[in-house]
């Protein structure tokens, strides 16, 4: 929360630098006739998982997009294009020739994915795009789209801001270019490359047609992704695991032992089992420099390209998992140095995982009661306004997960809904309850639940205890077992549980 507030401070200041950068023409210089555009169409069919009926997938969707052809026969697209895909196809812009493709590497957090055509020669005559990493505020970038004929449609826009913003999967913030650009509607406008001097400068992240502002995943993030993608084991962008707050308030500075007008941010929370905690960072510390870059009171450092920008950029665009980053801090006024070994935090390392694609959700059906594990993906079934629309208690548990479950290393098992059946008479209106115990055993995952139901308590009953009313739900174990085939038949449940 504080971090977000802090970011709004940041926005105002980021635009300081870059206005002096020379304006270079971004429209492609006339191409020789033989030369092929480094763009392909990408057609994707996919299916997302139905979290309300977790044994099945939703109706298929199709998306048509563009991909940027890179070296070594790879095609770069955004991850939200190919998440939950069943089939990906590349289509040559001019000839309409097609081939199947597979996803080589995907990073949902940075919203990037690399595709590889099954037919290795498919991209042969295309000169791949190089990447230009030095875009600054004031540069002009061209959005490359394709006309139905396969001809290039280039629209130029001005980079107005370079700042840290949240990406669609709201895990941390990443460097983003904001470009003022009047995009034209074309089919295939899902992933749009942004180009400077015929080199790839970014990939469209989102576009607001009213304000005509386009946010782009910038080249430094793409380069980071590609560099790691070339290693055997893709780890993902590092995270440190602490929250911070600006130290502009002189009273807070004084309280934290800071005198004078020095910089630094106040550490408000250190999450367990994270690099920050392992390195010994503590609540109340003031972080004054990261990777030898001084941090001001708002949490910005001076970047050679962009001027002032939030220091988290040093830990994402500029650092890799496994790197050891020196943190200069002040604790009660005493300067210290901590060496933080960066790690990527996997979605599965959260109590309520922030995203889940290409993996079926876990569930357990017991006599018509559907148990699932709380995740943000589950909450997003309530649509774009899920934070308002989804059951507020579950939103609360997700939002405050690190505070409510400081020990981590667990899931929140919820009774998602109830299918009417003989075993669930009188229970059919229950939903969105959090399960604390089953048959007297504490439940910290669906696995725990699956184990616990195997041992009915005296009299052959299964006793489920919930945090909320009605606090207690009892089932007859034998009746549940007898009724299972009918339940599966009636509701078309292919399997009663999925635990892996």
């Amino acid at each position: 929360m504080h971090k977000r507030l802090f970011v709004t401070f940041g926005l105002v200041l980021v635009t300081v630098s870059g206005t002096l950068a020379k304006k270079e023409p971004a429209v492609p210089t006339p191409l020789s006739k033989q030369k092929q555009l480094a763009l392909v169409r990408v057609n994707v069919t996919g299916q997302s998982y139905d979290y309300f009926r977790p044994w099945q997938k939703k109706a298929p969707f199709s998306k048509r997009a563009l991909g940027a052809v890179l070296s070594k026969g790879r095609v770069l697209v955004t991850a939200d294009l190919v998440g939950n895909q069943n089939y990906v196809e590349l289509e040559r812009a001019e000839s309409g020739e097609k081939t199947a493709a597979k996803v080589q590497v995907i990073d949902y957090e940075a919203n990037l994915a690399l595709l590889e055509p099954v037919d290795k020669t498919f991209l042969d005559e295309i000169t791949p795009l190089e990447i230009t990493p030095d875009t600054v505020v004031g540069d002009r970038l061209a959005a490359w789209q394709l006309e139905p004929t396969g001809a290039l449609l280039a629209t130029e826009g001005l980079v107005t801001t370079v700042q840290m913003t949240p990406y669609p999967i709201d895990v941390g913030e990443f460097l983003t270019y904001r470009i003022s650009l009047p995009m034209q509607y074309r089919e295939n406008s899902y992933t749009v490359p942004l180009v400077k001097n015929n080199k790839l400068a970014g990939l469209m992240l989102r576009y607001d047609s009213r304000s005509q502002l386009l946010d782009a995943i910038p080249a430094p993030i793409i380069t980071h992704f590609l560099r790691e993608a070339e290693s055997q084991n893709y780890r993902g962008f590092p995270s440190v695991g602490f929250s911070f707050f600006p130290t502009r308030d002189p009273e807070l500075r004084q309280f934290a032992g800071e005198i004078g007008k020095g910089g630094g941010v106040y550490v408000t929370n250190v999450e367990p089992n994270t690099p920050a905690m392992k390195a010994g960072l503590k609540v109340g510390d003031i972080v004054t420099a990261v990777a030898n870059n001084e941090i001001d009171q708002n949490g910005n450092y001076v970047d050679p390209l962009y001027g002032k920008i939030e220091f988290t950029n040093l830990l994402t665009a500029h650092a890799y998992s496994g790197d050891v980053i020196p943190f200069r801090i002040e604790r009660n006024g005493n300067p210290m140095q901590l060496n933080v070994t960066l790690e990527h935090r996997d979605a599965k390392d959260y109590v309520s995982p922030p995203y889940n694609f290409d993996q079926p959700p876990r569930y357990y059906v017991l006599g018509g009661l559907i148990f699932q594990e709380l995740s943000r993906q589950y909450l997003k079934e309530w649509g774009a306004a899920w934070q308002r629309e989804a059951p507020q208690r579950l939103v609360y548990l997700d939002h405050f997960q690190s505070e409510l479950f400081p020990e981590g290393n667990r899931r929140v098992v919820i009774l998602s809904q109830v299918l009417p059946a003989n075993s669930t008479i009188g229970y059919d209106e229950l939903s969105y309850l959090t399960v604390t115990k089953v048959n007297g055993k504490e439940i910290k995952s669906l696995g725990d639940l699956a184990e616990a139901v195997k041992q009915p308590i005296e009299g052959g009953f299964i006793k489920i205890e919930t945090e909320e009313d009605p606090k207690q739900i009892d089932l007859d174990a034998a009746q549940v077992a007898d009724e299972a085939p009918i339940l599966q038949e009636n509701y078309g449940i292919s399997a009663l549980h999925r635990l892996d």
Binding site: L5, F461, P470, L475
Partner: protein, 538 residues
């Protein structure tokens, strides 16, 4: 009293509007008098109520000269301003109805006279306006008694008598001054349903209410609904037109009689309540597990509110089998005078100091327990509206601290998840045990001393200088101390809010002057100053 335990159920009826306090009747459509028809219409459920509903039908028996009992009440009220609680608040004017009952009293809705500063009563064929005063107000069941001191006022008035509960499908007539008109209006309809309803005036209490199909509009509030010359209820709430039509509610006579009996000792004691939540026991396996017979009896206790009368008597997992000798069915109903009603209706009829006897089933053993209604389960109060109270607050260094309440939530409409959680789960998670007042930094009056403090807005105070802050009084006492600085910890991960006491003191007058703050704190919810007579009676 049955309480709506979760905030969600309150929202369901949010479309209901109160019928007096609408200060702008001009925007409502004009009332269309309709010709009575001869065919009796059937009761219509809300789901079907899309069609402009019932054709009013002629009452079987005239109700007599109701004009001689009906009065028109004009209330000038002051709505407290929770965003600037030192101010008196906004002036509002509303029109409602009332009727004379025995003892020179006028019965009306609480929402007609709540927060009122000046009341005028008028009657048919009399040009005079009579000042009136509130005798008793019951915000939990939306009823009030007012009286007129003018000696001749009641001379030619005819007190109305009360009947019982009208039969379903029987015809009733509603009298009042809908849409601000000055002449009495009559509409008729039939009794559609008798059930527990949320009373939206407090928006936390549920009591018996009768749904009628008569056209009822703002201005009908407080007016009598009659059948065969007797009052069957007091019209009080309904839905706005875009939610449902032909659905209006009246307060039935059991609720009215209870109110009149409660005040007969000179003060209103409010409803009593078991302060528990329960679930139905309709699942055969669960019944077997609990060792219950297959006799469709009993409900399962889920939560026992620590601050309520059942706290030391009942516990979660108990099964309630009978209440005062009435067998409780597994769906929570009892049989009362030949009618099935929610078992809490037995408690509804009790008064402060009464008790109730329960046969319960605990750990597979029968037991008999007695619950005495000595204390009110106060935590519910923050989840309902307050009236005739002065908002409590403490202003310190331009920071406005206020206790969490429905009125506060409605004033600021915060989106903060923690705040909403504290509000909704205040009772179910027994949060009031640690935080009898949930103290919110609700607003900041900008000043150089608090210029960097905006991010703390919406936070809930946990402790100051290492000391837990449980109530607003604690907070005021702490700020009266003289340490060098106050380190305020909010609940959750966040930086402490640090105030230099000397700087706050130095800025104090300046903030007061700049924002025209008349008073820096109010710790008492006492009624605002009224005429001495009124103040004594409330």
């Amino acid at each position: 009293m049955k309480r709506s335990l979760s905030f969600v159920s309150a929202i369901l009826l949010f479309g209901a509007i109160s019928y007096a306090q609408q200060s702008n009747p001009a925007t409502s459509p004009p009332a269309q008098p309709e010709a009575p028809a001869a065919v009796p219409s059937r009761s219509v459920s809300p789901a079907q109520a899309v069609v402009p509903v019932p054709v009013p039908i002629a009452p079987p028996k005239p109700n007599g000269p109701v004009q001689k009992s009906l009065v028109r009440i004009t209330a000038t009220s002051v709505e407290p301003d929770y965003k600037a609680p030192w101010n008196a608040g906004a002036l509002e004017r509303g029109v409602g109805a009332g009727f004379v009952i025995t003892g020179n009293r006028i019965l009306t809705n609480a929402h007609v006279v709540a927060n009122s500063r000046y009341l005028i009563v008028e009657r048919e064929s009399d040009p005079n306006k009579y000042p009136a005063t509130v005798q008793f107000i019951a915000n939990d069941c939306d009823l009030a008694l007012i009286t007129v001191s003018a000696p001749d006022f009641f001379k030619n008035m005819v007190p109305l008598k009360f009947g019982g509960i009208p039969a379903l499908e029987s015809t009733v007539s509603a009298y009042g001054y809908p849409i601000g008109g000055e002449r009495m209006s009559v509409t008729t309809g039939i009794v559609s349903r008798i059930d527990f309803q949320l009373y939206t005036h407090s928006s936390i209490d549920q009591h018996l209410a009768i749904q009628i199909s008569a056209q009822i509009n703002p201005g009908n509030s407080g007016g009598p609904v009659m059948q065969s010359g007797k009052v069957m209820g007091v019209a009080f709430q309904g839905y706005s037109g875009d939610v449902a039509q032909g659905v209006a509610y009246m307060i039935p006579t059991p609720v009215i009689n209870r109110f009149l009996k409660d005040v007969s000792n000179g003060h209103y004691d409010k409803y009593v309540d078991l302060a528990i939540s329960y679930s139905k026991l309709q699942n055969p396996a669960q019944r077997k597990f609990l060792g219950l017979k297959d006799d469709d009896r009993g409900v399962l206790v889920n939560t026992v509110v620590e601050a309520g009368p059942s706290a030391t008597v009942l516990r979660p997992g108990d099964v309630l089998l009978t209440i005062d000798g009435h067998s409780i069915a597994s769906d929570g109903n009892v049989e009362l005078e030949g009618e099935r009603a929610d078992f809490q209706e037995v408690v509804e009829r009790k008064f402060k100091g009464d008790s109730v006897k329960l046969d319960i089933w605990r750990d597979k053993q029968p037991m008999t327990v007695k619950i005495e209604f000595l204390k009110t389960a106060w935590p519910y109060l923050i989840q309902g509206h307050s009236y005739d109270v002065r908002p409590r607050y403490v202003l310190y260094g331009g920071l406005l601290f206020q206790p969490l309440s429905l009125d506060l939530m409605e004033a600021y409409r915060p989106t903060d998840l923690r705040l909403r959680h504290f509000f909704e789960y205040f009772i179910l998670e027994q949060l009031y045990l640690q935080h009898p007042d949930v103290i919110v930094l609700a607003n900041i009056l900008p000043d150089p001393i608090n210029t960097y403090l905006a991010p703390y807005r919406g936070g809930i105070v946990d402790e100051i200088n290492g000391k837990k802050i449980r109530t607003l009084d604690d907070l005021a006492r702490t700020f009266a101390e003289t340490p060098e600085r106050f380190v305020i910890r909010m609940i959750g991960d966040g930086p402490p809010l640090v105030l230099d006491r000397n700087k706050v003191e130095a800025a104090r007058e300046q903030i007061k002057t700049r924002y025209n703050v008349l008073k820096e704190q109010n710790l008492e919810e006492k009624p605002e100053s009224k005429s001495p007579e009124q103040a004594n009676n409330i």
